[in-house]
């Protein structure tokens, strides 16, 4: 099955117009020995058949709609109001192209402008772009940006930043000889981290922290920005679950120069990893180093308000090898979803999501702490996630929970192999949490 629309008569007439008899003649420039190879693919399916085939494969996956999910680690199972999916599902949004012709893209451009405005408010920053790929690449881009601004190279990463985010930073810097220093994290009675300010020097471009950190701890970042600025470096704060910003001080108020966040928890489905949207914002003085697309307000000749992509001269299609980044696509459709989510919830709703997620986590932590062989390691306060010391290995615990149709824990910390990272959202009922605690209590050495 394919979606071409030419009739046999059309083809005949069009071949005649072009001046050939058979369509194969249009490929005369392809070397003869490589022309028309056989593609060893399974036979074509009709729409009905492929629908059934993919549904069968989908059915082999445990979905968070059916199994209680306590997995966090950079993606969180919050509730997305129905309208979010319907808004993203409007064909004039999802089948539209990048708004390079603004007169016929005002829907996209205004929605992007609104997204940018909400991101600034949420993160407490001056300017935002129209999204990057995800929270991890946002951190990578932020590091590159800090290097351009300070004209320095050295990078200091908190060890309590998500390991995959740190890996992405390394990949972005791999081709240059850059010193990347990571503070060490140790697991004793509680989680302790080497002091970041001790790792600063006068060649440091930036310090990257995650707030709340990867273990869920809400850190007291008071004084960090000042210490970082005193050495001429920039502070980058990344947020994994931005619903936390309904309760926790945003990066801007901690003095961040660049703030990033993973947009997934703000109404976007988990989708086994994506697509999501990376939020990225900065102080106004760094605007021209901000990568990605940006929508700006302006007017037409009749004074009507309109929106355009602006500051494009920084981008790849103009600056080419001198661009701020090679980034081309943004995650516009998902950014529209985030905009819809934040609008539907409003400030009261977002605060309530945060309050409930936090309360559920505390309830669970208190119950798990009381189990012999278990101890919550994340220092209080935490937001909606904490690390637990377990009597069995991470893999064992996760597997046994799967047998009970419970999804929990992450494989992110092989160096701490008797731990379990647990996340909670407003979707986890008390009954589900009790079941989790009960399941854990039945596991012992």
């Amino acid at each position: 099955m394919n979606f071409t629309q030419l009739t046999p008569d059309d083809r005949q007439a069009m071949l005649g117009t072009v001046g050939v008899e058979r369509v194969e003649q249009l490929f005369a420039d392809v070397p003869a020995e490589s022309r028309f190879p056989k593609l060893e693919l399974p036979p074509a399916l009709t729409e009905f058949e492929v629908g059934r085939y993919m549904a069968q494969l989908a059915a082999e996956n445990a979905s968070v709609k059916d199994w209680p999910c306590f997995i966090g680690g950079g993606a969180y199972n919050h509730y997305s109001p129905s309208a979010v999916g319907h808004i993203m599902g409007q064909p004039q949004f999802y089948t539209a192209y990048t708004p390079y012709q603004p007169e016929v893209s005002q829907g996209t451009l205004q929605a992007s402008f609104e997204f940018q405005s909400l991101v600034c408010e949420l993160l407490g920053m001056d300017v935002s772009n129209d999204s990057v790929y995800d929270g991890a690449s946002a951190v990578g881009e932020a590091v590159l940006m800090a290097q351009r601004i300070t004209r320095r190279e050295r990078v200091v990463l908190a060890g309590s930043v998500h390991p995959q985010w740190r890996e992405v930073v390394h990949s972005y810097l791999a081709a240059r000889d850059v010193e990347v220093v990571t503070s060490s994290v140790s697991m004793g009675d509680t989680i302790e981290e080497e002091r970041l300010v001790d790792l600063l020097d006068d060649t440091t471009a930036c310090v990257v922290v995650q707030q709340p950190d990867v273990f869920g701890h809400v850190r007291d970042l008071n004084g960090l920005a000042d210490a970082v600025h005193a050495r001429g470096a920039l502070l980058i704060i990344g947020v994994a679950d931005p619903t936390s910003l309904g309760l926790v001080k945003p990066p801007g108020e901690w003095g961040a120069d660049i703030a990033t966040a993973e947009g997934q928890p703000l109404g976007l489905p988990l989708q086994f990893g994506g697509p999501w949207a990376g939020l990225m914002a900065c102080k106004s003085e760094y605007l021209r180093q901000l990568p990605g697309r940006i929508s700006g307000q302006t007017t037409d000749a009749d004074g009507r308000r309109g929106f355009v992509l602006t500051l494009q001269a920084r981008e790849q299609h103009i600056r080419r090898e001198k661009a701020t980044s090679n980034i081309c696509t943004s995650q516009t459709l998902l950014a529209i979803g985030v905009t819809a989510y934040l609008s539907l919830l409003g400030p009261t709703g977002l605060r309530e999501v945060a309050r409930q997620s936090h309360a559920k986590a505390v309830y669970a932590a208190n119950a798990i702490d009381a189990l012999p062989g278990y101890r919550a390691l994340t220092p209080r306060p935490f937001y909606n996630e904490f690390l637990v010391q377990t009597p069995l290995t991470t893999a064992d615990v996760r597997h046994r929970l799967v047998e009970r149709h419970i999804l929990a824990g992450v494989p992110l910390f092989p160096e701490f192999d008797r731990t379990l990272l647990l996340a909670f959202t407003e979707q986890n009922t008390r009954a589900d949490i009790d079941r989790l605690v009960s399941a854990l209590s039945e596991m012992s050495v």
Binding site: A313, R314, I318, K322
Partner: protein
């Protein structure tokens, strides 16, 4: 006698450089600003920065383009035109006076002699 002032020298990259008391003033030519279109932003070095002849010392942006600015001579930047932050259009409106970009203390004055005269530059641009 052409459109380009005779009191200064020119580069093949369309910058001009004019001697003043103890330093030189640098900007871009009328031809250049016309090619670029409406200037929206000029990225300039900081006071104290060293610039090197033939190397990029800044960037000039219009809506659709971004071009490097090339240093006509080597030296230290002693002043930068702060007005261009709010009024980048000064480069379009008055490229030879209000549109000046940086003032430089030259490292090697003889570098100037290598540059084009107003007539030579006019010839190059066909003005």
């Amino acid at each position: 006698m052409g459109v380009n002032p005779a009191d200064r020298r020119y580069t093949t990259e369309h910058e001009w450089i004019k001697p003043e008391a103890e330093h030189y003033v640098v900007g871009i030519t009328a031809f250049a600003q016309d090619q670029l279109g409406d200037i929206v932003y000029v990225e300039l070095p900081k006071v104290g920065d060293q610039i090197e002849a033939g190397k990029a010392f800044g960037v000039i942006e219009s809506v659709k383009t971004a071009s490097d600015l090339y240093a006509p001579i080597s030296g230290e930047v002693i002043e930068v035109n702060a007005d261009l932050v709010e009024q980048p259009q000064n480069v379009n409106d008055d490229p030879y006076e209000r549109g000046w970009m940086v003032k430089v203390r030259a490292a090697d004055v003889s570098e100037i002699e290598q540059l084009l005269t107003a007539d030579q530059y006019s010839e190059q641009t066909g003005e």
